[in-house]
């Protein structure tokens, strides 16, 4: 089970989002909070490391990482493909 708090902890390690990580709501757009393309790559790498997964290419879209809720769903789908 991936919780929003797990995701928020990873956002707190992201250079761009660290200062605001705790104030980001589940559905807030991370891109509006300043996440850029490099930031999102760093975020993807951190998530892969933290959850021991690899996101397939078709998941590497802006939408999959647009918000905490979206990331939670993306990670859950990769962790438990049959449940998706």
């Amino acid at each position: 089970m991936v919780t929003s708090q797990d995701i928020r902890e990873i956002l707190a390690t992201n250079e761009v989002l660290a200062p605001v990580a705790e104030q980001i709501g589940d559905d807030d757009s991370l891109f509006d909070r300043g996440l850029d393309s490099f930031g999102s790559v760093q975020l993807m790498l951190a998530l892969e490391e933290r959850f021991g997964i690899e996101f397939p290419d078709e998941f590497l879209t802006r939408k999959s990482f647009a918000s905490i809720a979206a990331i939670r769903e993306t990670v859950a789908t990769v962790l438990h493909p049959q449940a998706a």
């Binding site: 757009s29 891109f31 509006d32 909070r33 300043g34 996440l35 850029d36 393309s37 490099f38 790559v41 993807m44 790498l45 892969e48 690899e54 996101f55 397939p56 290419d57 078709e58 590497l60 879209t61 802006r62 939408k63």
Partner: protein, 387 residues
């Protein structure tokens, strides 16, 4: 009714007539742009229900190539205009104000310019210092626009700015400003090696009391990712292909004239021509395959926003820009002094100076650095026909 190709060819013929003067004087290709308007080529992409012709990027790319063979500056102005129009068509159909704007562009053949570059930020499209300051139903914007190509000749400028004065640098919007709504104070002059007619001067841009409806509702982040990056790389590459193509045409004519003078022998330059025709074909293939990818992805937000797609478009830009320079230089080595001299049928000075801008316009190192980051997460695989 003429075909699109015929209309483009008529405009290109006029562009070619004035290309040397545009280059020599570093002036706007007015005759060419007037011809583009007369042939009604500025509203092509706009949907037919809004008075345009609903043309796709493939048609525009072909026109960029046609114009690129005649006058690089006119071709680049045409490409930059259509990159902005592509963004309006992709992201403005939900906004009544922007639909009306598109009707006007098609009806009045308005020339659209872009203001993204800003002093202190350089070419980083996705960061702005300046911000929209809204009061009631109107906004003001002041921007140190270090480059606005054909800024004083455009009928409309689409400018990026932060959404509001407290917004993050990347939280941007795209605002539409008519020429009579802005004041442009020239701060620097575009006096360059090539592409001299794009008149990419620097300005202080000031706009006041602009209705908020003129702010495109979609976040600029989406506009950049979904239409601007891909259409820029595709259309610029098509312009460069046009330049390279015309250089190879001159080299071919030169080699064939040599062959006619010495019947029964293959001139030594023919081998170099074979090499350059090989490179030209590879360049064409790279552009066409990327254009197909873009067309196949139309309307699919996830595909266009994906890392794999960004890598393809980035690679197109770096590849096409380097190949174009290489091809024109090879063509020059074939025609020799006749190409080095101005005013001969084989002159290649202007195209060479123009095409040298290709690796620098959005520096290839910047693009490669961006690709390098994306490759940290992209996975491999794929097949010949689908990857």
């Amino acid at each position: 009714m003429s075909t699109l190709a015929q209309r483009a060819q008529r405009a290109a013929t006029i562009a070619a007539l004035h290309a040397d003067a545009v280059d020599r004087d570093g002036r706007f290709p007015l005759e060419a742009v007037t011809a583009l308007k007369a042939e009604r080529l500025l509203g092509l992409q706009i949907p037919s229900q809004l008075g345009g012709e609903g043309a796709g990027l493939r048609e525009i790319a072909d026109l960029c190539c046609t114009l690129g063979q005649a006058c690089s500056s006119a071709a680049m102005v045409f490409a930059m205009h259509h990159i902005k129009v592509a963004s309006l068509v992709a992201h403005g159909l939900d906004s009544a104000w922007h639909c009306h704007l598109m009707e006007r562009i098609a009806q009045e053949q308005l020339l659209v310019a872009s203001s993204t570059t800003e002093a202190g930020i350089g070419g980083d499209l996705r960061t702005s210092f300046c911000a929209v300051e809204t009061t009631g139903g109107v906004f003001a914007l002041g921007k140190d626009a270090s480059v606005i190509s054909y800024g004083t000749q455009a009928d409309l400028i689409l400018a990026t700015a932060r959404r509001h004065p407290e917004a993050a640098g990347s939280d941007q919007v795209l605002v539409a400003l008519f020429a009579d709504q802005v004041s442009l104070e020239r701060k620097s002059v575009w006096d360059t090696l090539g592409m001299r007619g794009t008149c990419s001067d620097g300005f202080r841009l000031e706009a006041r009391d602009i209705p908020v409806e003129q702010i495109l509702p979609k976040p600029f982040a989406e506009i950049a990712a979904q239409s601007m990056l891909a259409s820029s790389h595709l259309l610029w590459s098509s312009v460069w292909f046009g330049i390279a193509n015309s250089a190879v045409d001159r080299a071919r004519t030169f080699v064939q004239a040599e062959a006619r003078r010495q019947p029964g022998q293959v001139p030594p330059t023919a081998l170099r021509l074979a090499e350059v025709s090989n490179a030209l074909q590879a360049m064409r293939a790279a552009i066409v395959s990327a254009l197909r990818r873009y067309e196949d992805a139309q309307g699919d937000v996830d595909t266009i926003g994906s890392i794999g797609f960004s890598v393809i478009m980035n690679n197109l830009k770096t590849t096409a820009s380097e190949m174009a320079v290489d091809i024109v230089q090879r063509a020059l080595s074939i025609v020799g002094l006749a190409g080095y001299k101005n005013g001969t049928p084989f002159s290649l000075g202007r195209p060479l100076r123009d095409v040298l801008s290709a690796p620098l316009m959005i520096g290839n190192d910047r693009i490669l650095a961006n690709t390098a980051k994306l490759l940290l997460v992209q996975k491999g695989g794929g097949q010949l026909m689908s990857a």
